[in-house]
Every structure is written in structure tokens, then in C-alpha cells.
Subunit: 158 residues, 2 copies
């Protein structure tokens, strides 16, 4: 006799609501889950691995439709190992790009935090414009260069 988990059990353990789990099932992400005679979903211990994989792909920014593609491969067993590797490898690239973009944004936001503090000290958001050029902090000059590039249409491929 195997132990089964109901949708409520799974919801309580994983933090994914029962509503969301049913939605995922409807979207074809949970085809591996067995049903009782009366239709109740019966999750097994083993089902938590693909379920965990779904959460990882979700948090990596993969849309539901593409996760469904992955799960379709998963259901086909050993003959799709390579295809699944390819999908994860692409997702790896996507993650690297997302992280790089957020790190770029972090740099700008860090600068802005610094700049707002400087401006607050002086009570003037445009204080640097009244300074002789040599006294303007390099960070401000660099930021203004970025904004100039933005205005000139440099690197608008996103």
C-alpha cells in the first residue's frame, strides 16, 4: 500500500494553492498525477520531484506553455533525455541573461541611491548643474552619458 497525498496536502507542503495546482493540471503540467476511482488526485512521494522541477522552471521565468512542453517530454521517458537537456540548457542561458540584466539595473539603482543622498544633502535635485565642470563627480558624468546614449538611440535592442 502506497501513501498518497491529496491536493490539499500538496498545497500545504509546497505553498502552491490547491486552486493553482488544479490550474496547472488543466494546463497540462500535472498529467503524471494519478486519480482515485472517484476522480480525486492522488500525488505520490515521487510526484514531488517533477512538481519541484515545475517550480524551478516557473521561478526561472519559463511560461506555463513551455513548461507543458517539458512535461510532455518528461512523460515520454528515456527517449527524451536529450531534448530535456536542451531545454534546461536554453533555460540556463536565459537565467544568465536575466541575472546580467538585473545586475545592470542594480548598478543604475545603486547610483541613483547615491545621487539622491547627495541631492538631499544639498536640497537640490539638480545641484551638479551649478557646479564648475571639474567639481562634478565622475559618477554623474557617466550616468549622463548613459542617458545621452538612450536619447541617441544607442543599444535600443533589448
Amino acid at each position: 500500500m502506497e501513501k498518497y497525498y491529496t491536493i490539499g496536502d500538496v498545497a500545504a507542503r509546497t505553498g502552491i494553492s490547491a486552486h493553482t495546482l488544479r490550474y496547472y493540471d488543466k494546463e497540462g503540467l500535472l498529467s503524471f498525477v494519478k486519480r482515485s476511482e472517484s476522480g480525486t488526485r492522488l500525488f505520490t512521494k515521487e510526484d514531488f520531484e517533477p512538481l519541484y522541477t515545475i517550480t524551478v522552471l516557473k521561478k526561472s521565468g519559463m511560461p506555463i506553455k513551455k513548461i507543458r512542453e517539458f512535461m510532455t517530454l518528461y512523460l515520454q521517458g528515456n527517449k527524451t533525455i536529450h531534448d530535456r537537456y536542451v531545454m534546461f540548457n536554453e533555460q540556463r542561458q536565459s537565467l544568465l541573461e536575466q541575472i546580467a540584466e538585473l545586475e545592470d539595473m542594480l548598478k543604475i539603482v545603486d547610483y541613483k541611491c547615491w545621487y539622491f543622498q547627495e541631492a538631499e544633502k544639498r536640497g537640490d535635485i539638480n545641484y551638479y548643474k551649478k557646479l564648475p565642470e571639474q567639481e562634478v563627480d565622475q559618477r554623474i558624468i557617466e550616468f549622463n552619458k548613459i542617458v545621452d546614449d538612450f536619447r541617441e538611440g544607442v543599444a535600443k535592442e533589448d
Copy 2:
């Protein structure tokens, strides 16, 4: 005589479509943009800085409504410098958390890439289950521990 940019100019330079720019305006993000007598939006050189700031906040994951709050502060000038600092500082925290989460996901995805390659070599997605325990790679043991925690409901606060 000041040079003006139309919405089409701005779209071409920034890569943000004119449709999207009008949508942003409707949502209150572009209240700083002047209009001609006949209603045409007239962007100035200076408008590109707040516009750039909007793109940075967007790419940092800030929702439009919150960007509107920021722009409301922006329009009020020097008396809101501190509030704007606070918003950017919060966004900084949010970015650090997003990056940390994506890096966690990257670790899992890296592992999965490695594991799929190992499984592909052996033609069996569950090859390790047939191995004597001492021969199972440490990475597999650690991953299984993570899945076990997931099933046990450890760290479901997200």
C-alpha cells in the same frame, strides 16, 4: 527655440513603441511631457532622463502603478528627494532578492544540465537508483535532499 521630439521620434530612439508610450502616458507616467496647441506630445532633451528612469524601474520589475507613484514624487521637485531615495532603496533591496533567487535557480538548472548529460550517457533517467549507494554522486544526493525538503514543506515561505 527648443528642439522637440515627437512620440514617433522617441519611439524610434528608445525602442519603446508609440502605442506603449501613449499607454504609459495614460497611466500617468509621462505627465512631464508638454503638448503643442493641437495636442501633440512634445518631448524635450531633458525628458529623456525621467523616461530612462522609467525603463530602469520597469526592468527592475517595478509595476506601472508604483512607477506612477515615483513620477508623482518626481513632479513635485526638491521636497520629495528623500521619498524618492527611499523608493530607490527599496527597489535596490528587491533587485538583490530577485538576483539571489535567480542565482539559486541557476544552481538547480546547472545541476539538471549536468544530470541530464549523465543520464543521457547511460540511456536511463533513473540510472543512479540502480547504483550502490557509495557510487552515487554527491550532487545527486544533495539534489534529492532539496526535493525531500520540498515534499516535507521546508522553506515554503516564498
